[in-house]
Symmetry: C2
Subunit: 146 residues, 2 copies
């Protein structure tokens, strides 16, 4: 099985990046999970259940998670126009700003790693990761909420 090596590398890099993100989050009073929420919402709104599914977390865990972030003014809830049971969650301007700052920090923190690749290799890596992101590993990618 060649795919053993891929999964191994994928898991390793996941652990590595996770460590970096955990530290960046901690420096900004955010848990890794909160960081993930911000990351997911960076370019879309999502319903609570979709977030929970993607995070691999219980719906009820999302409630408090969103509550706390909402109390900090980072994100907000909005009635979903198509389904009155559902709520869309999205970043506030402050949340978006923080998220962009965190991404900048991540770029900086990962720079020693990415610097090891020349520009063509970087492009290749992005291309190769693309199908992984799409290929439904788990709940599938988040669809635009509606």
């Amino acid at each position: 099985m060649t795919s053993d090596a891929v999964v191994d590398a994928l898991v390793r890099s996941t652990f590595q990046v996770m460590g970096v993100l955990t530290r960046i989050g901690a420096a900004n009073d955010l848990s890794l999970t909160q960081l993930r929420v911000l990351g997911i919402l960076r370019d879309r709104r999502a319903r609570v259940t979709d977030l929970a599914l993607f995070l691999g977390v219980d719906k009820s865990s999302m409630s408090g998670l969103i509550d706390r972030a909402e109390r900090r003014g980072l994100l907000a809830r909005d009635k979903n126009p198509d389904d009155r049971r559902a709520l869309d969650v999205f970043l506030t301007p402050a949340g978006l700003e923080l998220t962009e700052r965190l991404y900048a920090e991540a770029r900086e923190a990962l720079e020693p790693a990415t610097r090891q690749l020349d520009s063509e290799q970087q492009q290749n890596l992005v291309t190769l990761l693309e199908p992984i992101l799409i290929g439904s590993a788990g709940p599938g990618p988040l669809k635009p909420s509606r």
Copy 2:
């Protein structure tokens, strides 16, 4: 900045794999962090502080984490021969067995994703991820403990 795209893809794939691992862990009564500990210890022993550094977690968080896993018979502590303050942590046979089983589950769960790449692309991906793992992103890779 080309590296933006790399970091973006890296973070995205990290989130994706994290979700998969979270679910696998939950199915086996393991938190994501515990999973990471097992993953790190799969092929080496490590000192408590090194684990904490790599995980991006406080030393004190490690103690309880190790306690609980030790109570479950998954890992054990051992005096470090070179530094009498330090403790090496390592997997028990049961822990190793569980870890291998979890990796198998991860391979299975990620198979729909990795299947998107042919064998040559997989090899390329592994090669491109290699420097990321080595390029000191954060505390650097764990050195063999001594």
